[in-house]
Amino acid sequence: MAKAQPRSEIRFLLNGEEVALRDVAPDETLLDYLRLRQNLRGTKEGCAEGDCGACTVLVGRFLAGKLIYESVNACIRFVGSLDGTHVVTVEHLKSSDGRLHPVQRAMVDFHGSQCGFCTPGFVMSLYGLRMREPNPTDAAIEKALQGNLCRCTGYEAIVRAAHAISDYGRASKDPLLAERNAVVARLTAMRDGVRVEIGSGKDRLVVPASVDDFAKLLNDEPTATVVAGSTDVGLWVTKHMRDIAPVVFIAGLEELKSISEEKGVVTIGAGVTYTEAFETLAKRIPPLGTLINRIGGEQVRNMGTIGGNIANGSPIGDTPPPLIALGASLTLRRGKKRRTISLQDYFIAYGKQDRAPGEFVEAVHVPVPKKGTHFAIYKVSKRRDEDITSTLGAFLIEVKGGVVKEVRIAYGGMAATPKRASAVEAALLGKPWNEATVEAALGEFAKDFAPLTDMRATADYRALAARNLLVRFYAETTGTKAPIQVSRAA
């Protein structure tokens, strides 16, 4: 790493214009920047917490050398995290001669808007979908729209429009594709590989040049707020109005984005987003793929990272319980020193993790279940998609000769941390895998968990549903043809 001078401006492409900002507050959101500073008011604020999608814009960035565009929530995306990206807002869609973009035309013709306030967000989400899948299925449309709330239409007209978009022009002729090479050139020219540092004290933000740079920085400034996807930290600012400076933005660190597999262990860099992890995980550990599709909305999955989901230590984070059940471990790094611990041991108590000041999660290592084991994850929430878990159970079992040889069960939403069901496991281990054993094990749940009542569920419901998930898991392992879950499939 050459000792280049840090740069003191954030550079990105906004629609067609290059932007270089020296006066960026560490907590300035993209939405406020667009609306207040750029007067681009097509992008709306609906909730300021990444749940409604009215502020959806596309962010183009390089992933493995390729320029990709993804929908994100501008309300919880910080400007400081945009260095070297292409921000596309709804204002960029209409062609210079005033003609509407195919997504817009379809939305108009199919009566996809009523009050219109959510509409720019829907247009941008559908645009993001179109770039990946020009002829999407119902399921793909629903997935792309999980992070967009509409209170008027009941969505039917929007889904009809989504199906019709391809009739309005070929995706391969899309303006963003046509100008692609030029954009790549402009973005490449912005990338100088140096650290970005702006402001000091309460105004300080840093975009490290590399993981080594980041490690050093955090070691020197252990109180800095590390922001990867900002799907959590964004709310500290927009909802709690916390001062988060100094802030270190790590979303652009490609070295944290690697996914590899060695000897049956998948290693996921801490900066890998849910969307980036999806393909590998859905292939190698299918229940994780299914689960990822129920975490947040598309915009959140495009920003949020598995590393962040672990690092923030939430008791209702969705990935820790299955990763604990799988026996995952973490690489923690401080400066140049690394250590590896089991994920289970990382969670100490509510709000407390085994992470020293200046230390960060660098990677998570996930063993792929062995042949002959059965692995399942069941998430229960009030609303199926884009909802926070009431209870989530993850089950890994190996049955040999009808007897439970190995079992690992972990739950979320049931305790102050993601937690193993040790007593339940003990009641299963070494026993014949049958209904009687399961029945006996159900009685052990009370020893493992004393869940809370809150707005998502009562303690009674959590306890009951958690037990019943084991019943479901048993049924699943018997290979029954009868349905064991409700399904969105037609």
């Binding site: 909730c47 917490e49 013709d109 959510c118 209170r151 109005m241 229960v380 009030k382 549903a465």
Partner: protein, 778 residues
């Protein structure tokens, strides 16, 4: 917009009535060019307000220390109750029970106490958090369970409806049962939150851009709060980003505070609360606890019913009087009760004051009706569909409501017949039985429920509207009416009516922002009445001008008046045709007045609340839905497999817009009864105040198969605008079909022998707990 040359050869105008005209703002919605209040350019020096909210459910404020707030960065002023120059009250019904800012006592968690005005919105928000308020906490009531209409505090006088001797009929009935059903409230979750921007003018006048369904009321409330006449206050609204009833009265507070600050400081002031504050500090749909007693026979005929409709109204009356009245008006839904007594109980609670929400108590009223139908069905071992049919209103007899209005337009039988066929209810009922017998963990349920919804404001005087129609000398038309656009397409429908009247293409008609300066003394755009009232008023305005044009042409060309005929974009006068624009130009030179104020009042309606008798409704709108669900008996999770809807909007002004209203209302109604749950903690604090905790339906919650049909054979018997019917609210209640299908699926775990007593919202938790109760009882 480029000038469009209207075709004078056309056989039909573009965009007349009964066409699928697109929403007039659709192009602007999809490009982000549609301007909502927060998108307007701010006048130079605009300040921003943020409300400081109470942190206890009920308490005396013993010390208010705002020193740190006042000295926080960017803060220009902090308003408290003493800064209200006029009357510190925004009670819309004049009951003087709702302060702009609390004084002395706070009555719910989230009640506004002060308002910070700062250079930026963020500074105002941050400063708000620095307030130190000490409370002497007082006992509070959040839940209405156990409250007594005779003894406990009501926010407004209650209503009793009686026809016949219900107690006697129940006593004499072969079978009787009693029960209770609870349904939760609902947050509007308009995507655009509340917002007002006040701009001070000369003479102490103020103009407020306010996201409101009721500009005239905002005008009155601001006038009272400022202590100025109404003529000093102008309210303007081009469009809202959703309303659903949540902007009927709930914008008053923000408008009043913005106006007070703007006048005090001489600068424009904008208040746009954060979503959390919006959901905490503004009213919602009323939660109800309904007690019922029914007398019936073995065949399932209802003989007598008594209802008590208890409502969580919150700390003030707001619109709780008319909301709870309307609940009683719909305690029958589509059913005839030979003897009935229904009592409302609008309870005071230490919660935010509940307000209008699509259906306005009607949905909660119908929950009672549909619950007793289910109860009778389970008690007699019959399919609920059979009980529904058996108890429907007749067409010539058995057609008098609990409020003594005769149902003259009943079409529910035909709606049911057609829907039962098209949805294949019988075949699917058999399939589901077979499926459930072979499925241990997943159970299916099916239900078909009707809607009969009364159309008119029950406050008779609200049933009036005005419109202002200008024809300019080039033949283009500027149209303004008292209704407000919140996405429903009202402006489009009214423009269609005017285009049709003048026989000109719709793009010759421009609808402009609603403003109290153009059409005065308007009613809220509510009660589904927007097109009925404003369409007629605009039609009246257009017809006045047409009449003058006809007189003018008949005289000038010396023909009989009936020889002047408006054809598409032209007028035939005797044997010649001239373009509409040309006639207008000639009329102008002949000094014909080309502007008119139209007016309409709904005929036939009257209501005597003291007697509980009258004809509150001009007509009824009908529909029905058939829903199939699958339920997981291990977790209570469910999926809506299929929904079939048949709904009528009379001779629809615009089927495309009506279809959008029906689909959207259904999903919203389904959300109310399924995943949308309001939850208060033990300290009386609402904890579901953001989309992260309050779950409205997503695209992936809509029915997997969703067939919506308009009953195109329907026509309004009454003389409404082009024989159409209102559409805003009625389809909301079609969502009940999902709730009853869930009940049906749950009941299958006890072989349909026990009624599941499933309350709403039927969250997965409530569904699972109902299943557990049935398993324990079977």
């Amino acid at each position: 917009m480029t000038a469009h040359q209207p075709s004078v050869k056309a056989t039909k105008i573009a965009g007349g009535v009964h066409t699928d005209q697109r929403h007039d703002s659709a192009h602007k919605h999809v490009t982000g060019e549609a301007i909502y209040i927060d998108d307007m350019p701010e006048p130079r020096g605009t300040l921003h307000g943020c409300l400081g909210l109470s942190t206890v459910a009920h308490g005396k404020m013993v010390k208010i220390d705002l020193a740190a707030v006042r000295t926080a960065p960017g803060v220009v002023d902090v308003l408290t109750a003493k800064d209200v120059p006029g009357v510190n009250d925004i009670s819309p019904t004049g009951r003087h029970d709702e302060p702009v800012l609390a004084e002395g006592v706070v009555q719910f968690y989230g009640q506004p106490i002060f308002c910070v005005i700062a250079q930026t919105r963020e500074q105002a928000r941050r400063a708000c958090k620095l307030a130190k308020i000490e409370y002497e906490e007082l006992p509070f009531v959040v839940d209405i369970g156990g409250l007594d209409v005779e003894k406990d505090k009501l926010v407004t006088p209650n209503l009793t409806l009686t026809r016949g001797d219900a107690a006697e009929a129940i006593r004499k009935a072969p079978r009787r049962l009693k029960g209770q059903v609870r349904n939760g409230g609902q947050d509007h979750f308009y995507l655009e939150g509340q917002i007002s921007m006040a701009v001070p003018g000369e003479d102490g006048d103020v103009t407020i851009y306010c996201s409101t369904q009721h500009p005239s009321e905002v005008q009155h409330m601001v006038g009272h709060a400022l202590g100025v006449p109404s003529h000093a206050v102008t309210i303007e609204i081009r469009r809202m980003g959703g309303g659903f009833g949540g902007k009927e009265t709930q914008g008053n507070q923000f408008a009043a505070l913005a106006a007070i600050a703007a006048k005090k400081l001489g600068r424009a002031v904008k208040i746009r609360p954060d979503r959390d504050d919006d959901m905490t500090a503004t009213g919602k749909r009323h939660d109800f606890l309904i007690d019922y007693e029914i007398g019936f026979d073995d065949e399932g005929n209802i003989l007598g019913v008594e209802f008590t409709y208890g409502a969580r109204c919150g700390f003030s009356s707001d619109l709780s009087g008319p909301v709870t009245d309307r609940a009683l008006f719909h305690c029958d839904n589509a059913y005839f009760y030979p003897a009935v007594k229904a009592v409302s109980a609008p309870f005071y609670t230490n919660t935010v004051s509940n307000t209008a929400f699509r259906g306005f108590g009607g949905p909660q009223g119908m929950i009672g009706a549909e619950r007793i139908i289910d109860e009778v069905a389970f008690a007699t071992g019959k399919d609920p569909l059979e009980i529904r049919r058996k108890n429907f209103y007749g067409t010539t007899d058995r057609n008098v409501t609990p409020y003594h209005q005769t149902v003259e337009d009943n079409i529910i039988h035909r709606i049911f017949d057609e829907l039962e066929q098209s949805a294949d209810y019988d075949g699917r009922r058999r399939e589901i039985r077979a499926f459930n017998n072979n499925s241990r963990f997943i159970k299916r349920g099916l239900a078909i429920t009707p809607v009969k919804f009364g159309i008119s404001f029950t406050a008779t005087h609200y049933n009036q509207a005005g419109a202002l129609v200008h024809v300019y000398t080039d033949g283009s038309v500027h149209l303004n009416h008292g209704g407000t656009e919140m996405g429903q397409g009202l402006n489009t429908k009214v423009a269609q009516v005017v285009a049709e009247e003048f026989q000109i293409d719709i793009d010759q008609v421009k609808i402009t922002a609603t403003t109290t300066g153009k059409v005065p003394n308007t009613s809220a755009t509510a009660a589904s009445s927007g097109a009925d009232l404003n369409g007629m008023a605009a039609q009246d305005g257009a017809r006045q001008i047409k009449a003058r044009l006809i007189d003018f042409a008949a005289e000038k060309w010396n023909v009989e008046k009936d020889q002047v005929v408006f054809l598409p974009n032209r007028v035939r006068i005797g044997n010649q045709e001239i373009p509409f624009g040309e006639l207008i130009k000639l009329a102008y030179f002949a000094r014909i007045q080309l502007s008119a104020a139209g007016f309409y009042k709904t005929p036939k309606i009257h209501w005597d609340r003291a007697k509980g008798q009258g004809r509150p409704f001009y007509y009824y709108a009908y529909g029905a839905a058939c829903a199939e669900v699958s339920v997981d008996v291990l977790t209570g999770e469910y999926m809506v497999e299929r929904v079939d809807i048949l709904h009528e909007t009379g001779r629809s002004l615009n089927k495309a817009l009506d279809l959008g209203q029906i689909e959207g209302a259904f999903i919203q109604g389904m959300g109310w009864l399924t995943t949308e749950e309001l939850w208060w903690d033990a300290k009386g604090r609402l904890r579901t105040f953001a989309p992260s905790t309050y779950k409205i339906p997503l695209a992936s919650d809509r029915p997997k198969i969703f067939n919506v049909t308009l009953a195109d054979w329907s026509e309004n018997r009454e003389n409404t605008v082009y024989k159409s019917k209102a559409v805003g609210e009625p389809p909301f209640m079609l969502g009940m079909a999902v709730y009853h299908a869930l009940t049906d699926a749950v009941a299958s775990v006890a072989d349909h022998k026990l009624h599941p007593q499933l309350d709403a919202p039927a969250t997965p938790e409530r569904v699972l707990m109902a299943i557990e109760r049935l398993k324990a009882a079977r």
